[in-house]
Chain length 157, copies 2
């Protein structure tokens, strides 16, 4: 059970964008340089955050990515599910209905109790991620972080 | 983020073994027939539950698998981690320490706040799975289930 490696990239990129001056943008190339990541692949991943409404992409000479919403309204869950989708890691293929022990359809109207419990665990995971916003992440950084981030980002091209 | 398909197999096989008469065993071939699963691959997966102390494997003409502990002392977490390991799905490669924005080592003595929050979500998932035992699963089945399971298992070879 693994999330894509790009999950870390996108969480850090969004955290970085959240520290820029209001309205400022950063390009995929700048973010790639900032974290030493492959630019083309990062650009593709950032589009997943655009599609999910976390980031806005603007074009033109000063174009780039910025947060689409206030940091307090963007959760870890939204970002993680933008990369990996929202489905449960547990796959129920209804093996209770096959083989020598197959249950009849009338006994399978309800979700299998095992799938139900696995689903509850997934919901606990989702609730935990939904409880943390980008604003919470920023609040946990040293107070000097945003100024440093802006300074270092200004050095990228 | 996907658990192996065999996760469903093992949860159902353990649930089935938990319904047998005390001391009774079932072979991998019987369980495979019961759920119409590939016997050789199922046998290999069942060994993961033996290694993790959930099942005991006995050899000989009446040998097979049985629970190694009372059903109340076997949790969904133990079985899922027997199949898939215990590591978090989120991989932190410390990209905060690389590229133009690299933080100095002295600022990275603590776990990255993003990795910490992802770890908290994984712990919430683990706690949820640890809160459900095989005995809880059995208690949620119809009262007729154990007798039916034993009858149908007896028909397997």
């Amino acid at each position: 059970m693994k999330l894509p490696v790009s999950t870390e990239w996108l969480l850090h990129c969004a955290t970085t964008l959240a520290q820029l001056d209001p309205g400022a943008t950063a390009s995929a190339a700048q973010l790639a340089q900032y974290f030493d990541l492959p630019a083309a692949y990062l650009a593709k991943q950032l589009q997943a955050l655009v599609r999910s409404g976390v980031l806005t992409a603007t074009t033109g000479p000063r174009g780039g990515f910025r947060l689409a919403r206030p940091a307090a309204e963007i959760t870890l869950l939204q970002m993680v599910e933008a990369v990996d989708g929202a489905s449960s890691p547990y796959e129920c293929r209804e093996i209770r209905q096959q083989g020598r022990g197959a249950l009849p359809p009338e006994d399978c109207r309800n979700t299998c109790i095992l799938a139900e419990k696995m689903g509850e665990a997934h919901e606990a995971w989702r609730r935990s991620l939904a409880a943390t916003s980008l604003a919470d992440i920023l609040a946990a950084l040293p107070s000097s972080a945003p100024a440093r981030t802006r300074r270092r980002m200004a050095g990228t091209t």
